[in-house]
Subunit: 310 residues, 2 copies
Amino acid sequence: MKIKVLGSGAGGGLPQWNCNAVNSKDARSGHEFVKPRSQSSIAVSSNEKDWVLLNASPDIRQQIFDNKELHPHENGPIRNSPIQAVVLTNGDVDHVTGLLCLREGHPFNLYASNRVLGTINANTIFNVLNPEKVNRIETQLNTPFEVMTPNGSAGIEITPFNVPGKVALYLEEKKADGTFGTQEGDTIGLFVKEFSSGKGFYYIPGCAEVDQPLRERITGAEMIFFDGTLYTNNEMLDQGLLPKTGERMGHMNMSGDDGTLKIFEDMNIDRKIYIHINNSNPVLRDNSDERKAIENKGWEVSYDGMEVTL
Amino acid sequence: MKIKVLGSGAGGGLPQWNCNAVNSKDARSGHEFVKPRSQSSIAVSSNEKDWVLLNASPDIRQQIFDNKELHPHENGPIRNSPIQAVVLTNGDVDHVTGLLCLREGHPFNLYASNRVLGTINANTIFNVLNPEKVNRIETQLNTPFEVMTPNGSAGIEITPFNVPGKVALYLEEKKADGTFGTQEGDTIGLFVKEFSSGKGFYYIPGCAEVDQPLRERITGAEMIFFDGTLYTNNEMLDQGLLPKTGERMGHMNMSGDDGTLKIFEDMNIDRKIYIHINNSNPVLRDNSDERKAIENKGWEVSYDGMEVTL
């Protein structure tokens, strides 16, 4: 199975359009240790011909341009694309906006939970995806499905499962108990398995907490792409960027007793890769102490264009 | 007044993600005479500090990255942007999707017609633009308004006016008479005037026909950016790209008796610049006969990053 990281950044990417903090500044000016990153999405293929996108970021047009695997087949029809299916993990703007760029009548299958499809259906702008060409297919939690292209199987099976998270910001409803109306299916993780090899990996770009069911599920995995939004829960506040903790945003931090470095220590996962990394995170500086710290714990930081073979 | 062309292409840009035709292929492979183009949008400034965007394309994040005028002020707060207002000419996906990328709590003013604002309001995904920070301001046809930033005047006055056009594709309703439910305000042109110099230009990236009122309005203008979607009405059909004429799409062609080259001949406009140029258009090849033909008629082809001073 081939995996291509199209975007490794969190919402806003690096640089973020309106951010004057050091990481964004340095990415903007071409700093050798701070590479630009687009917003998180990966592409998966079993046959290196048909590709399945996991999430569709706002940067999708540039991501397609930058990754030749996603260019139209040169010997194919005048209009064609290797993109045969899109699977969504939530309704965040940084994961669904790219759908608006996949218009122009290309047939593909769109998979999402009832909650996320409900949002897509409620926003008429997504009708640019002609419903006669783009099937909207509701997935069920904990029920594996075979990813289908318009012409048959993609050779890949995906199991969606609920993870602790938060409803997309634009859908938050302030409840009397201080919560925001988050429901099951608002944030999901995906287990992606290739039929031919039997190999599989987890894709969990957003996660608020590793609870016991999640721990049991992912322990012993071959590979995981996991939420690498923040290094510390308070870093957005500390840097004066946003008056919100990671916890409030539904994302985890790497460091500390409640951080992923510590939590994943005894989970026996062969390959651990951070994705959805916020522009405030010091691991985005290739030469930072924090980068060394996570690498010493066996983690990798994904980057735009990263190729992984499983 | 400074004008920066952020994107010169029509919907899809060049290359278009799923297009295997010669222009897209050549743009993808770095052909010296076929430069990539992002989707149409321009930025305008009277003081070179505060910028007003005319339309917000899906490529806005890359467009901001590529144009240093739109980077955060280095001596400004930790989060800031020179983008102080956005004015929309229609509800097309290639003109409104970029709004979803201007989130992150930055205050600006959003101006659009009743029809276009209605679409924005009906799609809850646009609530990522916090209504406490981003004012949605309804403009009236033929009524000039002073473009305001959150801190005062942008020094620019804009007059929106109806032009012959078509409602956005995803909003089309098939009517018994063969029309698609287009109403006044679905497609507008803008006259942009700088208070300090009194100079002004027209911005009309989408237009189905130069009717008599439009002809009278723009005759004798100092400068115009005009719909350059197609070279011939049938070129999308002839190239096997889409079974639609320019007429059906609500866009004009350059050549022929009904084309803009001929129609604009006696209008006495000082500077005529094509924008919103579709990837099928042969004028996108710097060395084409069609490019020579339009230049011989006094037209320019805008390009990404083009700077214009008026």
